[in-house]
């Protein structure tokens, strides 16, 4: 499957050459992927191929007098080059000519096309295909059966998926080729309280393969305990409290509350408050935030979907906002450098500025010291969802569990569900303690607004802050 790109590569180069005769810039991204998932629950067992996006095809980007244009397709051979060039010309011309009066092209400097050549293949210890369907489902079945032995548990659902992908980016001066594999897993337990179903989960992820499965069983006891605890949960009394965020909740705050606000395509649109806060204090001096491929997680790659090499971007340095993340088009418009964050849901979609692996650095405070410092507050666990608000930096994050802390100790009272609200800089400036160890998780996908799902990871250490809960 992956070798087919080798056979097509000379023809892809000829396609770029042909397009360059008409356009000032031309590039093509070719992608092919092998995706598979296994799941088991009361609904049955399932093996599925393909993920959220159908990711096997090509996207061409060109620049003409009107600006940037793209064409996505999944039939290609050398013989089709004239037909593809004609289709691109016709579509872009028709789109430009059909614009009503008053709509003008957006001035955009052509993306930099500095020479680069790279070919690299990520390795994994155990490829899920080698382990095989039977062994993977047997492992999940064993975990599920063990979970179902616990009294009061309605169901235990287990899920594993991987994506092994290869991408080639070719422009006049660039020839980039990467192959990457990530694997994720999750265990979810459910219990009934009258008409309500309470549930809790634990996610696992890695840049690699089926070696991840060794961790999954260890997450089961915690999931079962939390699920049963939720049966006795109480509604939260709204208010502002001292809180300790577990690394997953810290990750959600990093990603949802702050990360989306420093995606620089939002700067181009004047949709991000962060643009006016550059080099200003946006967080406590304890907060340093990164995005990029300095860590090995599900969103680690060598180059993005616009052919920009990835790196490590320091977004916040000791509380000072230093820079945002940027795709190539936005960088050209803003007069800055791209950071390797131009990502597409698949070859069928536009590239936007997207996060990759986003996290807070660790500090020096132990969890015990954090607990001891709180007279009344909550330990927040098990984030479920969040929504960005880059324009106004409003927080909307949901967590499944708030454990009551009184006089430095957990009381055993559980509150659920919990909504985190408030103003992002207020929360980040209130950070008063950071744990030493960071943990990243990449079990989920991130949307831009309400679509454009890409794989990301986020995380950080245990973190103490003042947060408004509802």
């Amino acid at each position: 499957m992956f070798e087919q790109l080798d056979a097509l590569k000379p023809a892809l180069k000829k396609l770029v050459e042909a397009l360059r005769k008409e356009y000032a810039y031309a590039s093509v991204l070719a992608s092919v992927s092998d995706e598979r998932s296994w799941s088991i629950s009361r609904a049955g067992s399932a093996i599925r191929t393909g993920g959220l996006a159908r990711d096997g095809g090509f996207v061409v980007r060109v620049f003409d007098q009107t600006g940037c244009g793209e064409y996505s397709f999944n039939r290609f051979s050398e013989g089709m080059i004239p037909e593809i060039c004609r289709k691109i010309h016709e579509d872009l011309t028709a789109a430009a000519e059909g614009l009503r009066a008053g709509i003008t092209p957006m001035p955009t400097r052509m993306p930099s096309d500095e020479p680069a050549c790279l070919k690299k293949e990520a390795v994994c210890r155990i490829h899920p295909r080698e382990l095989g369907d039977e062994a993977i489902l047997a492992k999940l079945t064993k975990i599920r059966s063990k979970g179902l032995e616990t009294e009061g548990i309605l169901d235990v659902a287990c899920h594993v998926s991987y994506k092994d992908y290869r991408k080639i980016f070719i422009s006049e001066n660039r020839d980039l080729d990467q192959r990457v594999i990530w694997t994720t897993a999750a265990v979810m337990a459910m219990a009934r309280r009258e008409q309500e179903i309470k549930d809790s989960y634990k996610g696992f992820s890695c840049l690699g393969g089926a070696e991840l499965l060794d961790q999954v069983e260890s997450g089961l006891p915690g999931v079962l305990q939390r699920t049963l605890e939720l049966l006795n949960s109480e509604p939260m009394i709204p208010g502002e409290y001292d809180c300790i965020c577990d690394p997953e909740t810290t990750g959600m705050i990093v990603h949802e509350a702050f990360g989306h606000g420093v995606e620089m395509d939002m700067f181009v649109k004047d949709r991000a408050l962060a643009r006016s806060c550059m080099n200003g204090v946006v967080a406590s001096p304890l907060v340093t935030m990164h995005d990029g491929s300095a860590v090995d997680e599900v969103a680690t790659f060598l180059f993005d979907d616009e052919g920009t090499l990835s790196g490590d971007t320091v977004i916040i340095d000791k509380g000072i906002l230093k820079r945002g993340m940027c795709d190539a088009l936005s960088a050209a418009r803003l007069g800055t450098e791209p950071t390797g964050n131009g990502r597409r849901e698949s070859f069928e979609r536009k590239a936007y500025t997207r996060m990759t692996n986003t996290y807070f650095e660790g500090g020096s405070d132990s969890l015990e010291d954090m607990m001891a410092s709180i007279s009344y507050g909550f330990l927040l666990e098990n984030p479920s969802s969040g929504m960005e608000d880059p324009k106004n930096w409003g927080i909307q994050c949901m967590v499944n569990i708030a454990r009551e802390i009184r006089d430095g100790k957990l009381t055993g009272r559980i509150f659920s569900p919990i909504v985190l609200t408030g103003y992002v800089p207020d929360l980040l400036k209130s950070v008063s303690m950071m744990g030493p160890d960071i943990r990243l998780g990449g079990g989920g996908f991130c949307g831009k607004g309400h679509k454009e799902w890409v794989k990301v990871s986020d995380g950080g250490p245990y973190m103490k802050a003042r947060i408004r809960l509802g």
């Binding site: 009361r42 067992s45 393909g50 996505s72 999944n74 949709r271």
Partner: protein
């Protein structure tokens, strides 16, 4: 290509098979204010092949694979053989395949189906910006997609159905800079050329953005009668679609049964009448989809879902639905429904209904606080949270109607005593 796939399928001899061919083409425009950011077009074809395998004790497994339009014969056979082998490890209780259907549904000869995609995109662009004339608020950015799809499903049981569909969809952000710099996100989706609907939506959203700009963060924490409007009603009523689905009933997550009351109304309130609306002529399994009653006066009439789960429950497979219609005609006008005091939540950052827990919730971007003395104040911030299962017997609907692709029904609903986390 379909015949090649069928020939290749014969080499693995599955118990049953299904092929879905989908051709998609789009014209896409991306705007930043009144400037064209990017033009895109797409032309793709995919084949999804599902192979079913019989196991011991009448069990059955299946696997689906997605194939590109051009694939070498040997690779095609290899991938089908791998999929068929994988199916042997995902064995579940057996079931009958969907009843065969043969039909070619001719698409209506509408401008959206016939005109070049870029011509439609051009017309909708004009509609998008036509009402971008508000004195304070304006369109910050927008995305417009015109897409056409042709789908054909064939199966080993004799199903051969095909149909075409077209859709205009997208999103825009309305911004107002004074007195506070704010924005409101809005998406849209139409299955016919409706430029006037898009213009009206832009006009209304710009008005809301201007109101949000002067909205105050004064909402106190407490309990409010909550008014929801438009698609937010469809979102909460999705609780009933989800809990009546065979996907939730078969594993025991939902205990609903047809003929039983799943919702009741206190005196003076309204029992629910909801129907499922077919948005495509056939499901992805080739099941013919029709509009069906879901709740009549709060009594569950239909369990719906995919072939396997419906067969397990011994009910007719219906296909999976994505839109609903609420038939409640309402007893009050919207003005009466908004009788003070109450809180009309217009837009949320992300409004969600969790069908497992029954809780609805979201952070409000714009709401109108209607106080006992008749004062109406735009407010922002604060999160609502409530169990619909606890509130469902006290719902009041407006007489005014609303229609979108995913929800048709009353324009507004009033839910009493909803918890709000405010300032």
């Amino acid at each position: 290509m379909i015949n090649r796939i069928i020939d290749a399928i014969k080499t693995v001899s599955p118990a049953a098979w299904r092929i879905e061919k989908r051709e998609e083409e789009t014209a896409e425009l991306f705007f930043v204010k009144k400037q064209l950011d990017t033009r895109r077009s797409k032309d793709v074809t995919f084949y999804t092949v599902t192979l079913f395998r019989r196991g011991e004790e009448e069990k059955m497994g299946f696997t689906s694979i997605v194939l590109p339009p051009e694939i070498a014969w040997d690779e095609l056979k290899t991938r089908l053989a791998e999929a068929y082998y994988a199916a042997s490890f995902a064995m579940n209780p057996g079931y009958a395949m969907p009843d065969p259907v043969r039909d070619n549904v001719e698409a209506a000869q509408t401008p959206l189906m016939q005109d070049p995609l870029n011509k439609t995109a051009s017309r909708m662009t004009a509609a998008l910006f036509e009402k971008d004339t508000h004195p304070q608020a304006f369109l910050n950015s927008a995305e417009l997609f015109v897409e056409r799809k042709k789908t054909r499903i064939v199966s080993s049981e004799g199903t051969d159905v095909s149909w075409s569909s077209a859709r205009i969809k997208g999103e825009f952000v309305a911004q107002c800079r004074e007195p506070e710099d704010v924005e409101i996100y809005q998406d849209f989706s139409y299955d016919s050329l409706r430029p006037e609907a898009l213009s009206s939506l832009v006009e209304e959203t710009l008005r809301f953005a201007a109101d949000r700009a002067r909205a105050q963060k004064i909402l106190k924490t407490g309990s409010y009668d909550l008014i929801l409007t438009g698609d937010n009603i469809g979102e909460i009523l999705d609780l009933y679609t989800a809990r009546s689905s065979a996907r939730m009933i078969y594993p025991g997550y939902s205990r609903w049964k047809t003929g039983e009351a799943v919702q009741s109304a206190l005196e003076g309130f309204e029992p629910l009448n909801i129907s499922l609306t077919a948005s495509e002529p056939f499901s992805s399994e080739g099941i013919r989809m029709t509009d069906r009653p879901l709740l009549e006066n709060g009594v569950l009439k239909t369990i719906h879902g995919s072939n396997a789960f419906c067969r397990y429950l011994g009910t007719e497979p219906t296909g999976e639905y994505r839109s609903l219609c609420c038939g409640n005609e309402g007893t009050r006008s919207f003005e009466e429904l908004k009788q003070a005091p109450c809180l009309w939540a217009v837009t949320f950052s992300d409004f969600q209904m969790d069908p497992m827990s029954g809780y609805l919730g979201g952070e409000m971007r714009l709401a109108y606080l209607i106080e006992a003395d008749g004062t109406i104040t735009p407010v922002t911030g604060g999160s609502v949270s409530a169990s619909l299962l606890e509130k469902q017997n006290q719902l009041l609907f407006s007489k005014e109607r609303y229609e979108s692709e995913s929800y048709k029904g009353p324009y507004a609903v009033r839910i009493p005593g909803v918890s709000v986390a405010g300032e």
